[in-house]
């Protein structure tokens, strides 16, 4: 009886100690979550408070002048640039990922080499891509300051990102889907395009969304390639992007208020793109899992 008492006493001390520990842990993770949300909230609030009062209709004039500081050309260029870069990068990125996960032998030397290369490429700072783009597209290929050389540079920059996310999405597709398809007499091509790829679509799309985020927020890679002319640009013209436009306004020091207004628009644009992509992903998943 005595030993039993001692045992229960020790047990309850043990539990108490752990109870305190788990309370502490609980508090710590809640605090971490709160700090994250607060920082983000503060950032957004700051931009909105400083930016919204400065939003004037003249900021959305079709023609940019140094007086009106219009950002409309930059907005349009941003959309064009995003579209062209994705058009260039997505087919290659997704195609390469399909080859690596579905066709190449898993764990072969080639796969490992490509894997390592993409990992290294995604760690390179964007200014390096910018310099490369300038030397390669602007100078060597004589495209000059143009949306095209900007888009080519961005495409190279986001290629590893798209490839990696697609690869992850494809490897996350359970093998039992592939087996099910082969078991019904479907070939490799049909299996990949009708079963594997659709199942991986949400993952691939989230990669594309990340890529869009990088494109829209990119400045360094574009400074030397597409340039900073604030005009609605065609494929071969130089044209500025929203983030670059904002950088210029802020760095000149004269148009800080306009820069805040621009950043509000940039924020809204990114949010819109994300919402839109989430919507498309949902739409594509209709009638599926």
């Amino acid at each position: 009886m005595k030993t039993l008492c001692r045992y229960t006493r020790r047990m309850s001390a043990f539990l108490r100690r752990h109870y305190v520990g788990s309370r502490l842990m609980n508090f710590a993770v809640h605090a971490a979550a709160a700090v994250t949300v607060l920082v983000l909230g503060f950032l957004v609030a700051y931009i909105v408070v400083r930016g919204v009062p400065n939003l004037k209709p003249s900021l959305f004039a079709l023609q940019y002048t140094s007086d009106n500081q219009s950002m409309l050309p930059a907005i349009i260029n941003t959309c064009t640039m995003t579209f062209i870069s994705l058009l260039l990068a997505v087919p290659f990125g997704v195609g390469a990922a399909i080859d690596l996960t579905e066709y190449a032998r898993r764990g072969s030397r080639l796969t490992r080499l490509v894997q390592m290369t993409t990992q290294t490429l995604s760690g390179i700072p964007s200014i390096v891509y910018g310099l490369f783009g300038m030397l390669m597209f602007n100078n060597a290929l004589q495209l000059g300051y143009s949306m095209l050389s900007g888009a080519l540079t961005l495409a190279i920059m986001i290629l590893p990102l798209i490839m990696r996310t697609t690869q992850e999405a494809l490897s996350a597709v359970p093998d039992m889907y592939r087996e099910g398809s082969f078991g019904l007499g479907a070939g490799k091509l049909r299996t990949v395009f009708f079963v594997v790829l659709p199942s991986a679509m949400p993952g691939i799309l989230s990669g594309v969304i990340l890529a869009i985020g990088r494109i829209v927020g990119e400045t360094a890679a574009l400074m030397y390639t597409s340039g900073t002319v604030a005009k609605v640009a065609g494929l071969m013209d130089s044209g500025t992007m929203l983030a670059l436009h904002m950088y210029k306004q802020a760095s000149e020091g004269l148009y800080l208020n306009e820069a805040y207004a621009t950043s509000v628009v940039l924020l809204v644009l990114v949010l819109l793109i994300n919402l839109l992509s989430a919507k498309t992903a949902k739409l594509m998943m209709k009638g599926r899992g």
């Binding site: 032998r105 359970p174 039992m176 889907y177 087996e179 099910g180 398809s181 082969f182 078991g183 019904l184 007499g185 479907a186 070939g187 049909r190 009708f194 079963v195 659709p198 199942s199 009638g287 599926r288 899992g289």
Partner: protein
């Protein structure tokens, strides 16, 4: 080749790398009967099943020699593998409906083999779902995702999907091991009704299941066929001591 046999296997050996997984298998599998493959885990019964529709081709380092004939034709000879897999359908251990609608799941096989005509496809889907005894449960939700079905329903859907490809043989790899008893009895009844039209080969860990539904039983042990014959005979008077020990639950 005896025309009442769906498969005739002669001197078949299978290696995974250096591991000798199936040893000198001789076996006849008769048409329109249910053949049960039993044996402890790792004895090679699933591996054997998967060699009949060449699913082992997908496994790296797998090597097969010997002779497996389906209707007299060497299935490891110059044949179209996709066509073989159309003729020899498969139902897997875990229900694996594709993440698409119920209709698209069942239509996947026929579409793969070139059926495009919509009324024909509709009829085939309906017939397959009826044959798999799941039509009444899903007829109002054909456009809904197949992943919303219960486990037992999913497995019957997978059977319907296999039937829709119009196979001659259906391989079932422990089709009820992930299911509850009621769903299991559904699948067993289904197998019994299907054997009039199809040859069924089923791998099972469940001795009662083999005894309940199969006409013939094959006992595998360590990659060898120890005994094969009428299910009645195997379960009532096994010739080999090891078979007796296994079916009476002395090991396995």
């Amino acid at each position: 080749m005896n025309s009442s046999n769906a498969f005739e296997v002669r001197g078949m050996n299978l290696h995974y790398g250096s591991f000798h997984a199936l040893k000198n298998i001789h076996l006849d599998i008769p048409k329109n009967q249910i053949t049960a493959l039993i044996g402890p885990s790792g004895c090679g019964k699933s591996t054997f099943l998967r060699s009949l529709n060449r699913m082992n081709d997908l496994v790296e380092g797998c090597r097969i020699d010997g002779d497996i004939r389906m209707d007299g034709e060497d299935i490891y000879g110059k044949i179209d593998v996709n066509h073989l897999r159309k003729r020899v359908g498969m139902v897997f251990q875990k229900p694996n409906p594709f993440p698409m609608s119920i209709y698209d799941n069942v239509a996947y096989g026929p579409r793969t083999h070139g059926v495009k005509n919509k009324p024909q496809l509709d009829a085939l889907v309906e017939k397959s779902l009826k044959d798999a005894a799941i039509w009444d449960e899903v007829k109002d939700r054909l456009k809904k995702s197949a992943l919303g079905l219960s486990g037992g329903q999913q497995q019957r859907l997978c059977i319907a999907r296999a039937l829709a490809a119009q196979p001659e043989v259906i391989l079932m790899d422990e089709p009820t091991s992930a299911l509850d008893p009621i769903s299991t009895s559904h699948i067993e009844e289904l197998a019994l009704t299907l054997k009039d039209q199809y040859t069924i080969i089923i791998v099972t860990h469940n001795m009662q299941q083999a005894a309940r539904i199969s006409d013939r039983t094959v006992f595998f042990l360590l990659g060898e066929v120890i005994e094969s014959g009428e299910t009645e005979q195997i379960f009532s008077s096994p010739r080999d001591k090891r078979t007796e020990d296994y079916i009476t639950g002395r090991f396995g």
